[in-house]
């Protein structure tokens, strides 16, 4: 499977970020709801995305991960606490902190190429240089032949790749990917993980990758943030000290990866139990799956 992803010649590779940024959430609380009914979705949440590292955030669905993505992107402002990019407080959306959404957000009325050029055009930077970069990026993600197609004419995997190209052309300081491969079939998902992993390793751009899939998180990340159930907070930080470049097949059978996986599973299980006790029905599925898994591995 891994041979399908072409890691590219030097010409096709994307440029390495010379001075990667770091992003910090400092004591962030976000309340949602009307006046007296307001409840915290994120509570006293602090973590740092280290420069040039890929941090994966994992936690049960509906635990407030997307809210954290919106806070980092600047669509939401924290009720308390701060989001700091290289020490500067974040107050509004900007191409410096690019968010890639769960379902594709390519403009359906623009071609693949026009979508990639959307950011430069908006910032009045659509010049020879960015146009050439757009072509290069399309080539890099294997969409050169599809530059004049509209998003609805592309497959799910192609759409996600076009979206990666549309983000990368803006040279964001931080990229946030909110379950970007959700809704793809299993094969395409693996392919996309490898594509993304290769792109990250080439660029070395500070990134936050939000997912519910442990294997995906371990394969991609330098560091895992395991989140609590609602309200979201970092429950555990695990360093994924696996060598790069990584090969999906090798990584998933390595002993170290399994250790990390068990560690992550145990924490998630505890969280699910707590959440289940608190009346969250969704957690029951996880608890049951965990129990079955223990039975088969023992």
């Amino acid at each position: 499977m891994s041979t399908q992803v072409d890691r590219g010649t030097d010409g096709a590779r994307i440029a390495r970020v010379t001075d990667p940024s770091s992003l910090e959430l400092r004591g962030v609380t976000k309340l949602f709801g009307e006046g007296p009914l307001a409840t915290p979705v994120v509570q006293d949440c602090s973590f740092t995305l280290e420069s040039g590292k890929l941090t994966a955030m994992i936690g049960p669905s509906g635990c407030g991960k997307s809210t954290i993505a919106f806070l980092v992107a600047g669509f939401e402002r924290p009720t308390r606490g701060e989001v700091l990019l290289d020490g500067q407080a974040v107050s509004q959306p900007s191409h410096e902190r690019l968010l890639i959404f769960q379902e594709t957000a390519l403009m359906p009325w623009l071609t693949t190429y026009e979508n990639v050029m959307f950011g430069p055009k908006m910032r009045r930077a659509a010049n020879k240089d960015t146009k050439r970069r757009a072509e290069e990026l399309l080539e890099r993600v294997g969409l050169r032949e599809f530059r004049d197609k509209y998003p609805l004419q592309l497959s799910g995997g192609m759409q996600r790749r076009a979206e990666l190209a549309r983000a990368l052309i803006n040279d964001p300081k931080v990229m946030v990917l909110d379950e970007p491969f959700r809704g793809l079939d299993a094969m395409t998902r693996v392919l996309m993980q490898e594509y993304y992993s290769a792109l990250f390793e080439e660029g070395g751009r500070t990134s936050l990758f939000i997912t519910t899939d442990i294997d995906e998180a371990i394969f991609l990340a330098d560091r895992l943030l395991i989140m609590t159930n609602l309200p979201a907070r970092v429950r555990e930080v695990i360093d994924v000290d696996l060598p790069r470049p990584r090969d999906k097949e090798e990584v998933l059978v390595s002993e170290r990866a399994n250790e990390i996986k068990e560690q992550a599973f145990d924490v998630l299980h505890e969280e699910a139990l707590k959440s289940f006790a608190g009346g969250n029905k969704a957690a029951a599925d996880f608890v049951e799956a965990y129990t079955r898994r223990q039975e088969t591995t023992d």
Partner: protein
């Protein structure tokens, strides 16, 4: 693979397979052959249509209608059908060089009526478009603007167009303006409302993505809201064209001089019954054509939708 990439870079138009093994559509033909391919495709589709049962079913449908008319009115004259103008009478009148009741394909009066109605429709329709689309866009875009103007809009919208007739005549002391005003009003409400719905139908993710990519509010309006609302706007224009013809005929019947609605009504009062039918069928044909033109323009402006369905 490396050499293939290098070769592909030096010759950007050379065809190459997508290197990820993904299954997709044909590469986009951006070469001069595209025109030829399109013509071939058109010929192929025309031939396929001609040799399919569809044109015959269509003809059978028309034949059944005309046959039924002929049988019920001309031949049998049963029940009240005997009072209607018959098929033969209408066709003879319509195609006569010297029509008995004054209006046929060969009289200039016929074309005067068509032209007058068309001119009123076009004026009213484009005025509705020019005012309704911006109003709808702003209603959808600005919460504050919506809060102060939408309740008023919603109060006026349900008033049936016929209820506006007296006011229109009082307000515009001419033959032409009241009819155009009534036609405009109907089309305007349909256009504005559908444009508003169009803006509201846009997925928020597109706007968020645009802000993320560095757009200003104005740019989001221009590059996301307008194209995003376009499918609904064209649905609105189709509806607007329909209600415009409806209001036009109503207006012409009460307040107009000339026009197809006036022709139908005046033929009735002067008992020129075949002319009524000529006016009606003409309205049907022009109404159908005007909708088709809007569809055509819409498909041209929203190529991405047509492509996605192909």
């Amino acid at each position: 693979m490396a050499t293939q990439r290098a070769a592909a870079r030096t010759a950007p138009s050379s065809p190459a397979l997508p290197d990820d093994g993904s299954v997709g559509t044909q590469p986009g033909p951006a070469d001069p052959q595209e025109g030829a391919v399109k013509r071939e495709l058109f010929k192929y589709r025309l031939r396929k249509w001609l040799f399919s049962p569809r044109p015959f079913l269509m003809l059978i449908g028309f034949a059944a209608f005309l046959g039924g008319w002929y049988l019920l009115v001309d031949v049998l004259g049963v029940w009240r059908f005997g009072t209607l103008p018959g098929l033969v009478e209408v066709v003879t009148e319509w195609t006569a060089r010297e029509p008995a009741y004054g209006v046929s394909l060969f009289t200039s009066e016929y074309y005067t009526h068509i032209w007058v109605s068309l001119r009123r429709i076009l004026l009213a329709f484009f005025a509705a478009l020019a005012l309704g689309i911006p109003l709808g866009l702003f209603l959808g875009w600005s919460t504050r603007f919506r809060e102060f103007s939408f309740p008023v809009f919603e109060l006026f919208r349900p008033i049936p167009i016929l209820a506006w007739v007296p006011l229109a005549i009082i307000m515009f002391a001419s033959d032409e303006a009241p009819v155009i005003f009534l036609t405009f009003l109907a089309a305007f409400f349909a256009t504005a409302l559908n444009t508003l719905l169009g803006v509201q139908s846009i997925d928020r993710e597109y706007m968020r993505a645009a802000f993320c990519l560095g757009s200003s509010s104005r740019q989001v309006f221009r590059h996301v809201v307008v194209p995003g609302a376009l499918p609904f706007i064209f649905t609105g224009l189709q509806i607007a064209m329909g209600v415009a013809w409806f209001s036009l005929v109503a207006g012409e019947m009460v307040a107009g001089k000339f026009g197809l609605g006036y022709l139908i009504n005046s033929s009735y009062t002067t008992t020129r019954y075949p002319t009524i039918i000529i006016g009606m069928i003409t309205l049907g044909a022009i109404g159908f054509l005007s909708s088709a033109i809007i569809r055509l323009v819409g498909n041209r402006l929203m190529v991405y939708r047509a492509r996605a369905m192909a």
